[in-house]
Assembly symmetry: C2
């Protein structure tokens, strides 16, 4: 008997122009366009297997080996229903020989290769992997941009993880949401030098969820509407141009300004929303000082790094690969690491680098931050821009022939 199963991986993406606010909370239509960098799946990924079988009695989902309820009318159910509809319309209705998978229940197993405790949003890579694996299972003849319309309904930022490289999510204007989709501004091969350092920051306080936080901002911030109407549209144009021209200085300037403005409108919310903490602030101070030195005429006059913060205290530092050793050295100086940091690109040889770190660029004012206690930054992940979802072979399936995950939690 035929086995209907597909396994794909999907990447994490981190926005440079931030998504904050929905104009339609059911369809997940944003109040403004956004733009992100897709990160390399060699380092961070969600892997999802979808399997259809006439014998299955209902749709079921396991996340990291734990079964999750698929709530009727919820986001996961919506994505599955949309993909089944496309299967029927685009495949079964046009090819009577195609198996009627749209009428079968599916079992879905998904794993993230990064700990939830890392504070990285797994919903983007997770819903992208779910969408991509079902699209593969159903042999949908759809480009990633079309699939992004479905992933968007699972988690807004997931739509950007359907594509590699530099990806814009156009807000769109239609009530149907059919123009609210992800498009590639440039593939990863256009500017592969863009690397990213994720600084995983400890936080004692549970932050406001982004889903509820962004709607509170929509309802109460007097500044948000100005951002939506008068700031983001020009920034989308400007950062796209910077990407096309591989102009890192401009890319960095816009990325940092937009991160700060997102946190500004969060603070302008009532009650105010804070995601960054004192460690986040200290990382900003370090990167701003690094750029201050870089901007001196004698040093070339161009920014060398850009920080950005999502709805949490973690920093993501984008920089050309050539600057990454300096940046990691600086960060480890101010934020000593419990475990020796072994760089994924071998920047510090096989020994790695730990407490104290190797130091600074010439002219750097080390007084911009104090040396923090061990664990203020819990961990570092060095990665880079990467491609879109990947299809894996059947031997990589997360579901066994019994229809259950091979690895349970």
């Amino acid at each position: 008997m035929a086995v209907y199963s597909a396994t794909t991986t999907a990447p994490v993406n981190i926005a440079c122009i931030k998504y904050w606010g929905k104009r339609d909370t059911k369809l997940i239509l944003p109040t403004n366009s956004s733009l992100s960098v897709t990160l390399d799946q060699d380092h961070l990924r969600s892997t999802t297997t979808s399997r259809a079988d006439a014998a299955y009695v209902k749709d079921r989902l396991w996340l990291n080996g734990v079964e999750e309820e698929i709530k009727p009318g919820g986001r996961t159910a919506t994505c599955i229903a949309e993909l089944k509809r496309l299967r029927k319309e685009l495949v079964e209705d046009v090819d009577s020989a195609a198996p009627t998978l749209s009428s079968f229940s599916v079992h879905i197993a998904s794993y993230n290769n990064f700990p939830t405790a890392a504070g990285l949003a797994s919903s983007a890579s997770g819903f992208a992997a779910l969408t991509a694996s079902l699209a593969a299972l159903y042999s949908l003849p759809c480009p990633p941009t079309t699939l992004s319309l479905i992933a968007r309904q699972g988690s807004g930022s997931a739509c950007r993880s359907l594509l590699g490289g530099f990806v814009a999510w156009n807000a769109g204007t239609l009530d149907s949401g059919l123009d609210s989709l992800a498009v590639q501004v440039a593939p990863e091969t256009h500017w592969p030098e863009i690397h990213a350092l994720i600084c995983v920051v400890s936080d004692t306080k549970k932050g406001t969820s982004s889903t509820s936080g962004m709607q509170r901002t929509v309802e109460t911030s007097p500044l948000l509407q100005h951002r939506i109407e008068h700031v983001v549209p020009q920034r989308m144009i400007d950062i796209s141009t910077a990407i096309r021209n591989r102009n890192f200085d401009r890319f960095a300037e816009i990325t940092m300004a937009d991160s700060n403005q997102f946190h500004a409108v969060a603070l302008d919310t009532s009650p105010p929303i804070f995601y960054m903490n004192d460690v986040s602030r200290a990382i900003i101070a370090v990167i701003e000082e690094y750029n201050r030195v870089a901007l001196l005429p004698e040093n070339g006059g161009k920014r060398k790094a850009a920080y950005t913060y999502d709805a949490g205290p973690n920093a993501v530092i984008y920089a050309p690969a050539a600057n990454m050793k300096e940046i990691i050295s600086m960060i480890i100086h101010f934020f000593p690491q419990q475990e020796v940091f072994k760089d994924s690109f071998g920047l510090f040889g096989t020994d790695g680098v730990g407490v104290g770190g190797p130091g600074f660029v010439s002219g750097f004012n080390a007084n911009v931050a104090k040396t923090w206690e061990l664990g203020a930054i819990k961990g570092l992940i060095h990665t880079r821009v990467g491609g879109g979802p990947r299809k894996l072979g059947q031997e990589e399936s997360l579901l066994g022939d019994n229809g259950l995950p091979k690895i349970l939690a």
Copy 2:
């Protein structure tokens, strides 16, 4: 021989609608109107003696017993020159018998009764006391609003310390600045129940000075202009109405929103400016939770406290006197005090209150903040709305007959 000397005190003021940005940096004309509460001089004050003598060879100034250079064309020199000009025009030119004090040099001594380390802006009370003492020395027939035009040129927010109670600084529109002055919205006697708790927060990091910070915001924040044009004007009207109606709920709502928006535009600046730290954020979380409980219908449905933050990490909590014991108890619970807190209004008897504190109102979720280490809040000052500058007797003079401060540092 006659002694020409006058001593006055002037109060601190803490804004509810924040001043941030100048349209003229020389005349200190703001980009938006602001509104503050004048605090009681029984607790916090600057005291200034001005003395004129034909024998003095130049204008001299001592701050807390240390001589400060009066820079030609600087802010202090401008205030002194303006007050001498008024002496000549309004007194000497109309009364030929008046001594020609405008031609004498002055010696000025000023003391703050609060430590600089407290992080309270002393420039507002300081320039107000300087202006008021010279105006008294010169017997100027000017109301406080006229004098506010001069104090403003010393330090913008100083203009608001020339009046007691609830004070608006109208931004004005004239290039001359003649309409950029302080007016009383209501005297302290209108709403004497308004108390204030100043929480002096430790900070390891030297913040950006407000003078340079606000101009960086003017130059780089895309959100500031919207705040100036579309948010502050309505808030000025609304909070003035709330004050006239003694509507604390509305007063609190606007005060907190405007503090948060000021810090939001500081964060929207490039490089970003942070004044609040994790302790400041925790105080916000505590007050927001206190208000969440108070806003429940069964508890009356009205806010009971309002936080506000200037260009530093210190919180000022405004509340009706009746709520102050609850508020201090709550704050001391989360932020244990090194020394037992002896309330200036005797709220905790003669023993005071220290580590641990007495606790919370019913229904309060104590998980909104952790219990901080001793010293996270270095000290508490409980005060209330108060009056404008006061003239003291000659026996209170800070300058001896030798023209030097009686107490040198």
